[in-house]
């Protein structure tokens, strides 16, 4: 289940299997506690004691002792432990492993996120077609259901591994790690990860990518970056897609670019149209130069 939106049913995901242990263990424990009823007993105790204050002082003194006996007894069982661990620490560890894998094989990995319907799949298909023949790409595509996107991407001739996430609204590092095992890596230079169409939860999940690419289509409006700060904050590249539709959508280009620059000051911006091919060359050149940096690193 997703940390942000609560998608995905518990027990629905294979990695959640260890949750089975939790259940086994916790049941007996819960019963114990219900039997103990120590909690409800101890509360009534507190009340009589405070009443007793007014009555006899000596007892008062004794009572606090009683408390202390009780309390340590309970405190022994009830105590606070500092954990200070990232909730997604496990994901982050696997993401680091993926990153090492990419680095070791000289692969550039990009994680592409956007809202549903912003044209990710078409954009990526055209990207694969535009890249030079030496820049061979493999695609990992995440979808809740269907392999329509995978089929569309295969049209471009790239190997595609489909990850069907079921009810989960984002890809996780472990899914990528498994997908990589199924990917014919051969002479690939680029791994494109098409995330599930969603601008919220994928922002939190590092997949081990080198670049995080966020698509914003002109049909979505200029203020999209303001609505999804975490995703745009974390973007290395922002693609303004479908710019062939800018006119009909009365897209305010200056405003959109200003919003992107304010929300993602570190990001490189490309304006593209997968339909007309506008801007695709520049974007692909950028990818190739990034891939060269990986191999020389």
């Amino acid at each position: 289940m997703c940390t942000e939106c609560g998608c995905g049913l518990p027990g629905d995901r294979p990695p959640g299997i260890s949750g089975g242990h939790t259940h086994d263990h916790s049941h007996p424990h819960n019963h114990d506690h219900e039997h103990e009823g120590g909690l409800s007993h101890s509360h009534p105790h507190t009340h009589p004691h405070s009443h007793g204050h007014a009555h006899d002082h000596p007892h008062d003194h004794d009572h606090p002792h009683d408390h202390q006996h009780d309390d340590p007894g309970r405190q022994e069982s009830r105590r606070t432990i500092d954990v200070r661990t990232a909730i997604l620490a496990k994901n982050d560890r696997i993401a680091e492993r993926n990153r090492g894998f990419f680095q070791g094989r000289g692969l550039l990995a990009i994680n592409v996120a956007s809202s549903p319907g912003s044209g990710k799949t078409t954009f990526l298909r055209e990207t694969i077609r535009t890249l030079s023949p030496a820049m061979k790409a493999g695609v990992i595509v995440g979808d809740l259901a269907t392999d329509n996107d995978a089929l569309k991407l295969r049209e471009a001739g790239a190997p595609v591994v489909q990850v069907t996430t079921g009810t989960v609204c984002h890809l996780e590092a472990e899914m990528i790690s498994k997908a990589l095992a199924a990917m014919p890596l051969g002479d690939l230079r680029l791994i494109i990860i098409e995330n599930v169409g969603n601008l919220v939860c994928p922002a939190s999940y590092d997949l081990g990518e080198n670049l995080r690419v966020v698509l914003l289509s002109v049909t979505e409006g200029e203020d999209k970056p303001l609505k999804y700060p975490p995703m745009f904050q974390s973007a290395n590249v922002v693609i303004v897609s479908k710019i062939d539709l800018a006119g009909p959508c009365s897209f305010d280009r200056d405003k959109a670019l200003a919003n992107i620059r304010r929300m993602s000051p570190g990001a490189v911006i490309f304006e593209t149209s997968a339909k007309t091919g506008h801007g695709m060359d520049k974007w692909c050149e950028f990818l190739e130069s990034q891939a060269r940096n990986i191999t020389t690193a």
């Binding site: 289940m1 997703c2 942000e4 009830r78 432990i81 200070r84 661990t85 993602s264």
Partner: protein, 107 residues
Amino acid sequence: MESALHLASEQARASGASRICSIRLRIGELSGVVPEALQFAFEALTPGTMAEGSTLSVEDVPARFWCRKCSSEFVAGTLFSECPVCQTPSAELRAGREMELASLEIE
């Protein structure tokens, strides 16, 4: 939330606990986490686990940026990361993306 509860149970068991009484999280302003969704997920997931009947508290962590021009850290007052002194947008987020299990009260 499932990951948080999984981590919490793991930690609690490692400390020899049989029950989790309360869970404290630290959540960054820019983590994308909606506290209401957390609470909802918490209530949906805890029954039948060692955290059943426990309480959830969330400590908000403000987004802090580093301004290179001013060589100073600032807390963003708005959604934007502009330095309040020189107005330069900062790409260097120092804090605010946390999603952390801070502490547990166990017995």
